[in-house]
Symmetry: C2
DNA sequence: CGGGTCCGACCGATTGCTCGGTCTCGTTAT
DNA sequence: ATAACGAGACCGAGCAATCGGTCGGACCCG
């Protein structure tokens, strides 16, 4: 499974350093040399593990996918329980501000035309909307959600609320209680769509 | 007021070009030379009007402030009417995708630590939240909004929804009907907070 | 003519990335 | 057990390209 402990440890340190750098300066603003130094390597050493800066970025995104998959995706929450699960996810995110910041920076940066992360986000949003919408539709079938609810719209709204609040929270952590405001929002959605 | 038409025209073209460039590649990813060429100038010519790249950025943001001020700020909408006004603003934004994209990219980019636009966004969010919250509180006084509504939370939510939907819409315009989904959201908020 | 406007040439710094080489370590042959 | 070997991990130096910004002078309009 894990061939050499040495190489894997270096890779891991590089990924962490890349996350920190992206959180601070974005992808374009981060220098490969700085990331390498932060990970205790030289530029050439880093490039040995990740053949290019873009490869490093997709590795960071893949890591995020891996964590998310283990944490949220597989969980088969349906109906209103899925919404509560999302509130818990926000609560968890509030404890890893660095990761949230890196994700937020990348999200904005990727909107640009030729950004290497654009495709990743472009694929990710429809998938997440579909996941949440499906969970809501399951709630309709089980009778706990009113049948005339526009599940796709609600799914888009929930995701938009998560992203939007993250921006405000990262910019001004002590002025916005992201967890409380999102919980408040979810409570409103529950009230609006529950049978 | 306007000294020479020539210089003002150049300035205007540079601002437009900067907006396009930022929309495509962000602030960090945009080259001064490319912006200048797009505006029909050389780098040195651009630098004659804006002494540094950062000066150009704040000029772009100031322009945004100017437009917003004329379009939304001064209008004294209160209570539920303010929410409808925001829905109209989203409707208007949907017709200028380039501007929305530039704003979205900048928003994410500015989350970084030393970004020159960070302060601008950091000041802007509390101000906008306060504006909307004040409008809602006025609606409470006039009796059209229930008095136990958390105006600050709702204000943060409305702004977060605008920003979050913009991201999804810019990334995938044909998959997300930003105007409709936001209108749907506002309708829900109205239902939740109206007396 | 004179000041505002803009260009061409250039600078120092930094970028992502390559290349040649050194070091370490597990494997294998003896 | 030990020596020889080869693959992987990493470094130092430097590549070409690009970055934001400077400087002196040419153009043009009032």
């Amino acid at each position: 499974m894990s061939a050499s402990t040495r190489a894997d440890a270096s890779r891991e340190r590089v990924l962490q350093a890349a996350l920190r750098a992206i959180a601070s300066n974005g992808y374009r603003g981060s220098a490969l040399a700085a990331i390498a130094a932060d990970a205790g390597l030289t530029t050439a050493g880093l490039l040995h593990h990740f053949p290019s800066k873009e490869h490093l970025l997709v590795a960071v995104l893949a890591e995020r996918d891996r964590l998310d998959g283990a944490q949220f995706q597989l969980a088969g929450f349906q109906g209103l329980a899925a919404l509560d699960r999302l509130a818990e996810l926000v609560q968890h995110n509030a404890m890893v501000p660095g990761l949230v910041q890196a994700y937020t920076v990348l999200m904005g940066e990727s909107v640009g035309e030729d950004h290497p992360a654009r495709e990743w986000f472009q694929d990710r949003y429809p998938r997440r909307r579909a996941n949440i919408a499906a969970a809501l539709r399951a709630g309709i079938e089980s009778g706990e959600i009113r049948c005339e609810v526009d599940c796709d719209a609600v799914a888009a709204q929930v995701i938009a609320m998560m992203d939007g609040l993250q921006v405000q929270w990262v910019l001004n952590p002590d002025l916005v209680d992201m967890v409380a405001v999102f919980a408040n929002f979810i409570a409103g959605v529950r009230r609006a769509i529950a049978q």
